[in-house]
């Protein structure tokens, strides 16, 4: 995949592929929550706590974590759909906070967002084409006919015909609606697309179609993706580098191979081993899995030290974990971990059946109706 990316790096960009295009520097986001108990006075919750990461041109950067980990908030801060409370977002070398409205608008064109819910994010009264045209209208690009052509073009790219383009969103299935959402984001020909759980609302069989589409568009247009997901199998399949978030902090950040084979943070390890694999031996895997205690802590009751300490199989109750927040350190090449005791919980090795399953031949050859059907045991002769 990486090779592919380098091959298809944007031709216009003079910078090497390694250069970062989107960077978060010490991002913090706090929200005021009204508390009934305190006579309606505001209570502050920290949703993002000192998050730094950089997304490289042409890569797919994964943000992975469970609900409440802040991944969606981070995505919205990266696009300045939300104003960060602290820290900076740097896009292509420019601090977004320094831009005036006009300049920010120009940047927004290059930074697009695809929403999770293909049902709620499309205006039910507009046709697919009008929905896709709208961003062009907002950015005052092209004349009427050019906009129309551009919209139809990008809809064709995502697999919708000109005839289908006239229909309103409710005439489409979930997968097709998500294609419209993607077309709307891509009609502006952005450099970076932030995809917030783009497939999690879709059926399994449709998810693969949309993933393939996203990959094809990325290769064809040399796009950079920030891919938010709670599905680790998808992240492993789709992302080049992955950051694991827990309670608004990056606890581990590494390349795909490194993270999924040799995760070091106990939370990342638990998360990875908790994914049920559709292969034989599931019950053994489940029995061998490290069990976490409790659930994700409430944001109002953040632990003072390591955010994962109360649930951690390694650090629970340990003084240093309770008191001191572990810094994000580079432990291997491009492998960042925020843990006082990295690697103490080993990632269970993949079972042989998993591997065997993974390498099953994938080409389904249509068998011809055989004539010599002499079943070894058949009690049901077709009528």
């Amino acid at each position: 995949m990486t090779e592919q990316h380098q091959q298809h790096a944007p031709k216009a960009a003079p910078a090497p592929a390694e250069q970062s295009i989107l960077e978060a520097q010490h991002l913090c986001k706090r929200f005021a929550v009204r508390s009934e108990r305190r006579l309606g006075r505001a209570l502050e919750v920290t949703v993002l706590d000192d998050v730094s990461l950089s997304v490289r041109r042409g890569e797919t950067f994964g943000l992975v974590g469970e609900s409440g980990c802040g991944k969606s908030t981070l995505a919205r801060c990266l696009l300045r759909l939300l104003e960060p409370s602290d820290g900076r977002v740097v896009f292509d070398g420019v601090d977004l906070a320094t831009l005036d409205r006009g300049a920010l608008r120009a940047v927004r064109r290059r930074l697009q967002f695809v929403f999770q819910d293909p049902f709620a994010s499309l205006d039910p009264r507009m046709s697919a084409r009008a929905i896709v045209e709208e961003p062009l209208l907002v950015h005052r690009l092209g004349d009427r006919e050019q906009r129309r052509q551009a919209a139809l073009g990008v809809l064709a790219e995502v697999g919708l015909t000109a005839e289908q383009a006239q229909r309103p969103p409710h005439a489409f299935s979930g997968g097709q609606r998500q294609r419209i959402g993607i077309a709307r984001a891509f009609v502006l020909r952005p450099d970076v697309a932030v995809l917030d759980e783009p497939i999690s609302a879709l059926d399994v069989s449709v998810q693969a179609q949309v993933l393939n589409l996203l990959r094809r568009l990325q290769v064809e247009h040399g796009l950079t993706y920030v891919f938010i997901t709670h599905d680790l199998a998808v992240a492993e399949y789709f992302c080049d580098r992955v950051a694991v978030l827990y309670l608004g902090e990056v606890v581990e950040l590494a390349g795909r191979e490194t993270l999924f084979r040799a995760a070091l943070h106990p939370y990342a390890v638990s998360l990875l081993s908790a994914v049920p694999v559709p292969a034989l031996g599931g019950r053994t895997r489940r029995a061998a899995r490290p069990q976490l205690v409790g659930e994700v802590a409430s944001l109002t009751e953040r632990p003072p030290g390591c955010p994962f300490e109360p649930r951690c199989p390694v650090g629970r109750g340990r003084e240093i974990c309770r008191q001191e927040r572990p810094p994000l350190r580079e432990l291997g090449s491009e492998h960042w971990v925020a843990c006082h005791f990295p690697g103490e919980v080993p990632l269970p090795a993949r079972t042989e059946t998993t591997e065997a399953f993974a390498h099953r031949p994938t080409t389904a050859v249509a068998p011809q109706p055989a004539l010599d059907t002499e079943p070894r045991r058949s009690s049901t002769q077709p009528a």
Binding site: V206, G282, R289, Q291, R377
Partner: protein
Amino acid sequence: MGALSVLERMRGLREDRGAPAGVRAPQAATDDADGPFALSVRNLRTVYELGHATVQAVREVSFDLRPTERLGVVGESGSGKSALALSILGLIEPPGRVGGGEVLLNGRNIVGLSERQLSSIRGREIALILQDPMSALDPVKTIGAQLHEAIAVHNPQLRRSALRRRAAELLREVDIPQAERRLDDYPHQYSGGMRQRVAIAMAIANNPSVLIADEPTTALDVTTQAQVLGLLDRLVDEHRAAVILITHNLGIVSEFCDSVSVMYAGRLVESSSCEHIFLGATHPYSEALLRCVPNPERLAEGPLPAIPGFPPDLSALPGGCTFAPRCSVGRELAVCHEQTPVPELVEGPSGSAIVECHFARERAARGSR
């Protein structure tokens, strides 16, 4: 065990297809060498009459469930898997109705029983766990009150203090800390995982012999899902219940179930042991479902083998095999579009399976590779 239960299902199948009279007594379907089935479903049919269209949610489904067996029913949204669960419990609401078939629970047909008779069975002999822990509990009643209700409805002789003791016991059983105190909390004070634990506690309160769990962990985070699945596993063992686990996630089937049925457009298109499906699924749909799960090992092979198109509209099913328009095998073949495949018992390398596909036998034999 898996292979055995397939054989048993086969018997039900033979009955479906009209075995010659006298070959078997009608009651035989509920018995086998190991004793009676916990649940036998025969030709169950559920339709929704929507005025302009009739949605066939469950189409003549038959299967057997042995005591303590765990069957995974896998399907996508709109495959009819939730309607199947509700039909078994007699909880289909208008405009839907069960249009025919039998549900033999511990040997007794419960289709067509009165609401009074059914309600004495629900929760006691057969219980239900639903997907969404946010909406599965009444928001204005305490957790304790809802547990009391589950116990009291089948034990009217119990006094309040006894109910409360039992409710606290149940909460402890599902690992809720400070159970006594937390009885008086309301659902919104519980986390998602804890609510699902409460739902499980209510379901096992009266030791049902069959438990139907409709996507019990889908709404949960993956680490919470692992915890809840572990809990369910332990409790089902302790209470010796048979389980129908409805899910879209084959990974969960692998972690929890003995046998699996793949549901498509209201039919069980492949039923087998877990070994069979994970080592060599026979039906093209089962195979495709397994393969379209992203797998990094196959990155080099190019795009994911996605299933083209989308699941059919249950009110306008295509003729012939309902999967044919999306099938890698039969998309172009006249036989698949014209003839409805009948269920067939096939032998794969890792056990037998009942498959509804014109090419079931060839494919099962090929699976030995």
